[in-house]
């Protein structure tokens, strides 16, 4: 006998999906839970005071937001080009754009050095220093995070309703106006989803940031780098655990809030 479906619930879940889904959820949730369970709740105050935690949290939030802004600014046009333009070498460019997704972030940090360091292939011609500055960690974060936005938004541009764009053109809208006033609003849910993914990747970024940005307290010392240092250099796993809690809290609050607001509306648009 089948259960009566409620509301607009159609086609129940096939029972075969439940066990693997449970395993998948456990793989993702249990480690986070363990962190919460084992955190040194009674010593949080002293630990936060000792490690200049507020500076690191502030830098992490600021730089991750800057990374998201840069990714939107440069990644959205790039996604458009990949989705709609025709030019030789497009397949190669697409592969290159997604390369940071598979590259170990540490390698990304080294690559950034070779490119933008004082003796880098581009950096040697620049009159200012990029590594070990806050701008440097924003660039490193953009390098590893922007692909998430590009991939998400490219798919949206590809499947955006061309009929609306045609209608806009027949109403006299220039190509730019069609892009800004019709296409972009119509893919807003995907832009939001891509931005969230990009931001989430940026705020947790450790590898490229630690290599390219270093760990100058108050300047380039982000939360993930601080946590790693406390764990490896100071040999204080309890401290590292305690420090990771606020990062988790910020991330969970933001992701839950945004998911309800934007990500759910994506399929209906």
């Amino acid at each position: 006998m089948s259960r009566r479906p409620r509301g607009d619930e159609r086609g129940g879940t096939p029972p075969l999906l439940v066990p693997p889904a449970a395993v998948g959820a456990a793989l993702l949730v249990v480690p986070a839970l363990a962190l919460v369970v084992r955190a040194p709740w009674s010593r949080l105050g002293p630990i936060y005071g000792e490690y200049r935690f507020w500076d690191a949290l502030r830098i992490s939030i600021e730089t991750s937001l800057e990374v998201t802004a840069l990714s939107l600014l440069f990644g959205t046009p790039l996604a458009w080009i990949l989705a709609r333009a025709h030019f030789p070498g497009k397949a190669v460019l697409r592969a290159a754009v997604t390369l940071p997704l598979v590259l170990p972030p540490v390698v990304g940090g080294i690559a950034l050095f070779y490119a933008l360091g004082q003796h880098g292939i581009v950096g040697q011609y620049l009159g200012w220093q990029i590594p070990f500055t806050q701008f440097g960690i924003v660039l490193a974060g953009t390098f590893v995070s922007m692909p998430f936005l590009v991939v998400t938004v490219e798919g949206a541009f590809r499947s955006a309703d061309r009929g609306l764009e045609e209608a806009a053109a027949t109403l006299g809208a220039s190509r730019w106006r069609v892009f800004a006033h019709v296409t972009v609003p119509s893919i807003a849910p995907s832009l939001a989803a891509g931005s969230v993914l990009c931001w989430a990747r940026a705020i947790g970024e450790y590898g490229a940031t630690s290599i390219f940005g270093g760990n100058i307290a108050g300047v380039t010392l982000t939360m993930p780098v601080l946590v790693a240092r406390v764990f490896q250099v100071s040999g204080d796993p309890e401290g590292a655990t305690a420090l990771s809690l606020p990062l988790m809290a910020v991330a969970i609050v933001v992701l839950v809030a945004l998911r309800d607001k934007w990500l759910r509306s994506a399929p209906s648009s």
Partner: protein, 362 residues
């Protein structure tokens, strides 16, 4: 360069478009204020024609122009982008912008022209008023019914002040009741539009009701062009005859007598000598359940009733005589004659009800 704006111009299309092995060749002119319906079966290239005029695809040969203003002429390497043409389109699937309220959808054209936001909204409201849509101004498009969305789409197209208007099966997506309502309104608003209007449709009723001229397109070419009355009384191909519900036969006339291809003779007053087409309205026939005695009717055919189908307040009979014949009778006649599939019937018609005209295709 601004679109041509409110200047009243005529639309000239003399163009060929090839699409995957299929070539559409059309030569039509639409005068200012005229509504031309391009009528044809699905896949005849109607939408291709509309997209070419709007600039959404390029033509391969010939030219499209608004009076002297060339929109597309591959021979001279001229192609104007859709946004520079001043050609408005009302799409079958309305294509309202889902993220904009109705008033901002309608204000989109003026905004694109550079009109400031407040003024563009004011213009939009004037159009909404004119089309009786004022109370929908603040709605989101997804909260409109099909008929409302189509009306808003018309308001949006008109608010962009187009020089010419194109309509792509404007009523096809609507249910029967809404279609009748929108059809009436559309007819009114098209009558007020000063520029040329081109309407593509597969529905002969839509074409006849909305258009002042009908061009029938078949296999990529215009097979007949004329007023709705001409098209429906003197169809030139069996496709057109079927569309408008006429019986059409080919024959050869001499001195008012037409020898039909495949046998049989009809008397037709004023039939020109030579190859002719013979058109007979389904309602011109009288049906008998036995061979009629001598009468003044000049056509007398017999056959078997194949099927009956109600259309409106009549019943349409398909009769297998020496040739297929469509006959319209009243339900009362069906009852009185006890007509049923398989019944033998005799058909008569007067010579004055037979239209015979030159068959230019032969």
């Amino acid at each position: 360069m601004a679109a041509i704006g409110a200047v009243v111009v005529s639309l000239h299309v003399d163009a060929a478009v090839s699409r995957g092995g299929f070539t559409l060749e059309v030569n039509v002119h639409v005068a200012p204020g005229e509504v031309l319906a391009v009528l044809g079966p699905n896949g005849a290239g109607k939408s291709t024609l509309l997209r070419a005029i709007a600039g959404l695809i390029g033509i391969d040969r010939g030219e499209i122009r608004l009076f002297e203003h060339v929109l597309d002429a591959p021979g001279r390497n001229i192609f104007l982008a859709p946004e520079s043409r001043g050609v408005g389109v009302m799409f079958q699937d309305h294509r309202l912008f889902p993220h904009l309220r109705v008033v901002d959808n309608v204000a989109f054209g003026p905004r694109a022209r550079g009109v400031p936001r407040g003024q563009a909204r004011a213009e939009a409201r004037v159009w909404l008023d004119r089309l009786g849509l004022t109370r929908l101004a603040e709605r989101a498009p997804r909260r409109l019914s099909g008929g409302q969305a189509q009306r808003v789409a018309l308001a949006r197209a008109l608010a962009a002040a187009p020089s010419a208007l194109l309509l792509d099966e404007p009523l096809a997506a609507l249910d029967v009741q809404t279609r009748a309502e929108v059809q009436g309104e559309l007819r009114e608003h098209l009558a007020e539009f000063e520029g040329p209007t081109l309407l593509v449709t597969h529905d002969p009723v839509e074409a006849i009701v909305l258009a002042s001229t009908v061009a029938v397109i078949e296999n990529g070419t215009v097979v007949q062009q004329g007023t709705p009355a001409e098209i429906s009384s003197r169809p030139v191909t069996s496709y057109v005859a079927k569309l408008v519900g006429m019986n059409l036969y080919r024959g050869t006339a001499q001195a008012g007598t037409v020898q039909l291809d495949g046998g049989g003779v009809v008397t037709a007053v004023e039939a020109p000598d030579g190859a002719v087409l013979v058109a007979i309205r389904p309602s011109a026939f009288t049906v008998h359940d036995a061979a009629p005695r001598a009468s003044s009717a000049r056509i007398g055919w017999s056959g078997t009733l194949r099927s009956l189908a109600p259309i409106g307040d009549r019943v349409r009979l398909s009769v297998d005589a020496e040739r297929p014949v469509l006959v319209d009778v009243t339900p009362a006649a069906v009852a009185a004659l006890r007509l049923a599939p398989g019944a033998p019937v005799w058909l008569t018609a007067k010579a004055t009800d037979v239209a015979a005209y030159p068959d230019v295709a032969r």
